[in-house]
């Protein structure tokens, strides 16, 4: 894989290969999630950047437009909004706990760092379509940023430091006061946990402190036809497929998922196992938002997943009773903590409405 893709993705693919070749994590690994260390001044700067529409080409959308804090920093609509002028073809996942991950995006195409994820989100034409050289100059035009970059030890505002500050902020977005972590689960949730690790078999993929093996699986989630029936979404999908170099993109009628990374047909329709933390806030579910509630998700797996020729052999009908399904949902909800919606997590100060002119411009250095 790394060799095949080296011209396009270089180290990324190699690094991703290393992650995926790691030994299988076993069920017993589920457990509390440690907080992450981060620098307060850098994270504060990252927070202001995350909510700032000036980080998109036409200054219309921010990171938070699709990673909405009111929805657990995920997209409240099945398919993300995308950049103005187009739509999108996947559901923006929560960025809470993203700092704990080793592989990002539903198809797992970035396995290096949040620095690279940040760059991809800001520059991709169907996402934020930002020429980062313009972004840098916008930031240098805002005295608040000039001060914040300096105070954070970054010197003057630059593209590279944006790609460091936003990940620093993301490190501050970790689950808080989770019943599972604190050992305060209800009796119902405790019964659900037993099913989770036993009869329902969820833990086969949803394991580790993040409740994900961070590997790609095909569970047969039905295609979201809005991707293809709505030309706004379809154009984003086509632009993505062209840029990624997926062959035969004009005829694709399904999301290729992890196939994009490996170009192995056996990986068609596989997506990286999502974390189960903060599900309370992040509906709708799955890479394309096809399942609206956790009841729907549990029902989906109880039926043995969806239909797909590549479907994982781990999936089979579970035979869960109605009360067992309720217990399982209660357990899933016990993996969500406090909503991260206060000023500690959300930038609430207004942004300047226009760019202040630099005084004495002719005399000062740019």
């Amino acid at each position: 894989m790394g060799v095949q893709l080296s011209t396009r993705r270089g180290l990324l693919a190699v690094a991703l290969g290393a992650v995926l070749a790691a030994p299988v994590v076993i069920a017993a690994d589920i457990g509390p999630l440690p907080a992450l260390k981060y620098d307060k001044a850098k994270a504060e700067l990252g927070k202001r950047l995350f909510f700032d529409v000036r980080l998109s080409g036409d200054a219309a959308i921010a990171c938070s437009t699709c990673h909405d804090p009111a929805n657990g920093f995920s997209s409240p609509t099945a398919l993300s909004k995308g950049y103005p002028g187009n739509g999108h073809f996947r559901n923006a996942p929560s960025v809470i706990n993203a700092g704990h991950k080793k592989v990002w995006l539903h198809d797992g195409r970035i396995g290096t760092s949040l620095n690279d994820v940040t760059r991809e989100m800001i520059t991709e034409d169907y996402i934020m379509n930002m020429d980062m050289r313009i972004m840098q100059e916008r930031l240098k035009q805002d005295p608040v940023y000039v001060k914040m970059f300096k105070d954070a030890g970054y010197g003057e505002p630059s593209n590279g430091k944006v790609r460091k500050a936003i990940p620093e902020y993301l490190m501050s977005l970790t689950s808080k006061n989770v019943p599972f972590d604190k050992g305060t689960m209800s009796a119902e949730a405790k019964r659900g946990m037993k099913l989770f690790t036993g009869k329902a078999g969820c833990v086969q993929c949803h394991n580790g402190p993040l409740f994900t093996d961070q590997k790609a699986h095909n569970t047969g989630v039905p295609e979201n036809f809005d991707v293809f029936l709505n030309p706004m979404n379809h154009q984003a999908f086509l632009a993505f497929a062209m840029f990624q170099g997926i062959e035969n993109y004009m005829n694709l009628k399904r999301d290729p998922g992890y196939y994009n990374v490996t170009t192995d047909k056996a990986d068609m329709g596989k997506f990286i196992t999502p974390s189960l933390r903060e599900l309370k806030y992040t509906a709708p579910y799955m890479h394309n938002g096809m399942l609206e509630t956790l009841d729907d998700v549990v029902a989906f797996y109880n039926n043995g997943g969806g239909e797909d020729s590549n479907k994982s052999s781990l999936l089979k009908p579970l035979g869960l009773s109605k009360s067992e399904r309720g217990d399982l949902v209660a357990f899933l909800l016990s993996l969500s903590g406090d909503p991260l919606t206060g000023a500690e997590y959300v930038w609430q100060e207004p942004y300047p409405e226009e760019y202040e002119a630099i005084a004495n411009w002719r005399k000062v250095r740019n």
Partner: protein
């Protein structure tokens, strides 16, 4: 005038000698021979033309405009032109589907934009004046510093530029594929299964090659209709070709020598007062490959320098055509002059604005630019003549654009193998 030209020519050749040592001595006789043998009209190299001019009779005369050159690799056809017209007006050929060619080249604003700086992509402002599309077909190079070598490349560069269209090839090509009428039209014109974005630039260029004006009062006059110019305009023509010296650069059928000069235009004051313009200013220094030190200290548009990186090219811009200028105010690469009166006053002062401001690179200022001593009446005559470079206003109604449609039916999606 001739003396000035000769001096300029010699300094140009001196530079060649300075840079290339003895090579310059080899070039000189060749240029002179070429000038003697063919006259100056066919020379396009600035130095060659100037050298020819020195020996023969001066700059190429004004001439009626012939048909535009058509590149052999992008021939005209009615179908291609029609497609190009649709695309010219289609704002989906830009980043957020709001900014197409016509956004900054608006037919009712002289196929340009009637502000000093072009309006730019949403969230930005441009840093140069938008130039008219009319007669753009005749320019060998496009943009104010000549950075594009063809209309096709200009269309592409403008659609992709961060403060212009800010469009990426992928998304623009994807949009074309989802507009069935375009799929059919591109297939008919270019023979491809799906539209290719580079063919969009070719079609747009074919349309632009129809946006020419060859029947101005001046064209008619030069073709023998002596009634096409007023007496005042005829007096203005004499000044243009004589005392005012305009013809030194604004010569030939397009009233431009397509060369680069620093004429002393002062920087636009907007950079001192407008934060958004300051953002773009620095971005351009960055994007055009300035050195770190250049980026830090630049306080004006260095123009032709960005292409050559020669310090003597700082502040030089390509001589614009004077055709259609009746409709294309404001003037100059940065739109600092809103009327032709201001432009003529600027030249009459020898390249100074009314406050005495000029280029930050006076050492590069063309020797052609000197106080002209034109009287009030002479200035009026000159302006009257410059109006003869414009015919009727060219206006078209924006076409009705084809819609997006899904590529697949729900049935086809349901039947797709998973």
């Amino acid at each position: 005038m001739i003396n000035n030209k000769a001096r300029n020519t010699q300094s140009a050749l001196q530079r060649v000698r300075d840079r290339k040592g003895s090579l310059g001595f080899m070039i000189l006789p060749v240029v002179l021979l070429a000038g003697l043998g063919t006259g100056c009209a066919t020379q396009t190299q600035a130095s060659a033309m100037a050298a020819g001019a020195e020996v023969t009779s001066g700059p190429p005369p004004l001439a009626p405009l012939g048909p535009p050159p058509i590149p052999l690799d992008n021939k005209q056809s009615p179908e291609k032109i029609e497609l190009g017209k649709l695309l010219f007006f289609d704002v989906r050929l830009g980043g957020d589907a709001s900014t197409g060619c016509s956004t900054c080249h608006e037919p009712t604003q002289g196929w340009a934009w009637a502000e000093d700086f072009s309006r730019g992509y949403p969230g930005t402002v441009h840093w140069r004046n938008s130039q008219t599309i009319i007669n753009s077909a005749y320019y060998p190079r496009l943009f104010w510093a000549g950075s594009s070598s063809s209309l096709e490349n200009q269309a592409r560069a403008a659609a992709r530029g961060g403060v212009a269209g800010n469009g990426e090839n992928d998304i623009m090509e994807a949009r074309l594929a989802l507009i069935p009428e375009y799929v059919t039209r591109f297939r008919d014109v270019f023979g491809t299964e799906w539209p290719l974005i580079r063919d969009a630039w070719r079609a747009i260029s074919a349309y632009e090659r129809t946006l020419v004006q060859r029947d101005t009062p001046l064209d008619k006059y030069l073709q023998g209709d002596k009634s096409a110019l007023t007496e005042q305009q005829v007096r203005g023509k004499k000044l243009y070709e004589g005392k005012a010296g305009c013809i030194q650069c604004h010569n030939g059928a397009m009233a431009t020598d397509f060369s680069y000069y620093n004429i002393g235009v002062p920087p636009n004051r907007r950079w001192e007062e407008d934060g958004l313009a300051q953002v773009t200013f620095r971005f351009e220094q960055y994007a055009k490959g300035q050195t770190e030190e250049g980026y830090r200290k630049a306080k004006s548009d260095w123009g032709f320098y960005y292409r050559t990186k020669n310090k003597w090219d700082r502040g030089k811009f390509r001589t614009p055509s004077l055709r259609y200028t009746m409709y294309t105010a404001p003037y100059m690469h940065n739109g600092v002059f809103y009327t032709m009166e201001e432009v003529v006053d600027f030249y009459n002062r020898g390249g100074l604005d009314e406050e005495g401001r000029t280029t930050p690179f006076p050492e590069n200022k063309s020797k052609f630019i000197r106080p002209l001593g034109l009287t009030g009446e002479e200035k009026e005559d000159l302006i009257a003549f410059i109006e003869a470079f414009s015919g009727e206003e060219i206006l078209v109604s924006p076409p009705e654009l084809p819609n997006y449609a899904p590529l697949f039916t729900k049935q086809e999606l349901m039947e797709a193998k998973k």
